[in-house]
């Protein structure tokens, strides 16, 4: 227990991972809710919708990713660009109207700090993205859509993440 607490503080001190929310969250109620199956069902439903969108929009297509990186089609730029703009407008509105969560807590917007990992890691992920034609969301979607061989990619991606954790302290950040 004590060890876990120290480790968590350590992660906070050198937090470069902004997708993991709970170390930054000061609200334990929402964390507790997330343990329960009922509390998590809504995320399962959001995931189902996201999975449908990913396949129907063709962004999980290896060929579409190749077109994107060769500047041969506008499709992917249209999808990502309009997603970013929609996200931006949403965030502005959430801030403007001080929208609360469904548990009536204020929404927290995490400020991110620069780390060299965003460049080095970003380039490495870019290599992997062009090879597999899939970023992590589409990896799950491809498996669901029947391309079961992508399980190999999922397993090696987990291995890659584990290896990063192993050598993290030796890498420039």
């Amino acid at each position: 227990m004590l060890n876990a607490e120290i480790a968590e503080k350590e992660i906070k001190k050198i937090n470069t991972d902004f997708e993991v929310s709970s170390p930054d969250l000061e609200d334990p109620i929402e964390s507790k809710i997330s343990h329960s199956l009922v509390g998590n069902i809504k995320f399962l439903i959001v995931g189902i919708l996201f999975g449908i969108i990913l396949v129907k929009s063709e962004v999980v297509s290896w060929f579409r990713i190749q077109e994107m990186f060769r500047f041969q089609s506008f499709h992917m730029y249209g999808v990502i660009g309009s997603a970013v703009i929609t996200g931006m407008i949403s965030v502005i509105l959430l801030k403007r109207f001080k929208t609360k969560t469904i548990y009536n807590h204020p929404i927290i917007f995490i400020k991110r700090s620069f780390s060299k990992g965003q460049i080095f890691g970003g380039l490495l992920f870019g290599f992997g993205w062009a090879m597999t034609g899939a970023c992590p969301g589409p990896i799950f979607a491809l498996i669901g859509s029947g391309a079961t061989v992508v399980l190999i990619t999922l397993l090696t991606a987990i291995a890659g993440t584990w290896f990063y954790g192993l050598i993290r302290e030796k890498l420039p950040h």
Binding site: V46, S57, A83, R112, F127, V149
Partner: protein, 187 residues
């Protein structure tokens, strides 16, 4: 209705829907849209070892694993009920280039000559499926996010580090697709 669902969705429909993931997850309990952290949670849950990076209460993040499970189910639902049989309309330049590497089947979401269990032991399949996967896992965590975490969530909140990360994703992808992948595809 089913006919509309079976068509591929244009970018101006699917893009905004993807963007709405950001406010939806924030309103549903301060969750940050970012899929690649699941890979970290799986490590933390299954084989944390003595690695500090994996010593945290992954159960607090279990919502994201439900999201990933949902993605698999959603994609399966498309496959079963509103699958589009028509091949994706691709740029002829791409199909011409890929044909030169022996990729002739453009019907599915992935090139079957590489992404299938029959082909999995070929050199290029192993490099692309396994090597590529390793880079995705390593790179996303090193960068602190992926397309959803940085390019969409981070940019939506005007975070400069996410812009740097997103530019790096694309520079890496452009280098790989145009200069390195053509070599790998020859094997």
């Amino acid at each position: 209705m089913l006919k509309i669902l079976s068509q591929p969705w244009p970018w101006y429909i699917s893009g905004p829907l993807i963007g709405l993931m950001v406010p939806a997850l924030l309103v549903l309990g301060n969750r940050n849209f970012g899929i690649s952290s699941n890979l970290r949670h799986i490590c933390a849950a299954c084989f944390p070892g003595k690695i500090p990076f994996f010593k945290y209460d992954w159960k607090n993040e279990s919502w994201n694993l439900y999201l990933a499970a949902g993605i698999i189910i959603g994609a399966l639902l498309v496959r079963l009920f509103f699958w589009n049989d028509q091949p994706i309309v691709l740029n002829p330049k791409l199909t011409a280039e890929l044909s030169a590497y022996g990729l002739k089947d453009f019907n599915g979401l992935v090139p079957k000559e590489i992404f299938s269990w029959n082909a999995v032991l070929s050199v290029r399949s192993l490099i692309m499926l396994a090597g590529g996967g390793f880079l995705v896992g390593f790179g996303t965590r090193y960068a602190g996010g992926c397309t959803s975490g940085h390019a969409i969530t981070g940019l939506a909140n005007l975070q400069l580090p996410s812009l740097i990360a997103t530019m790096s994703f694309f520079i890496g992808g452009i280098i790989m697709a145009n200069f390195i992948l053509p070599i790998i595809l020859r094997f």
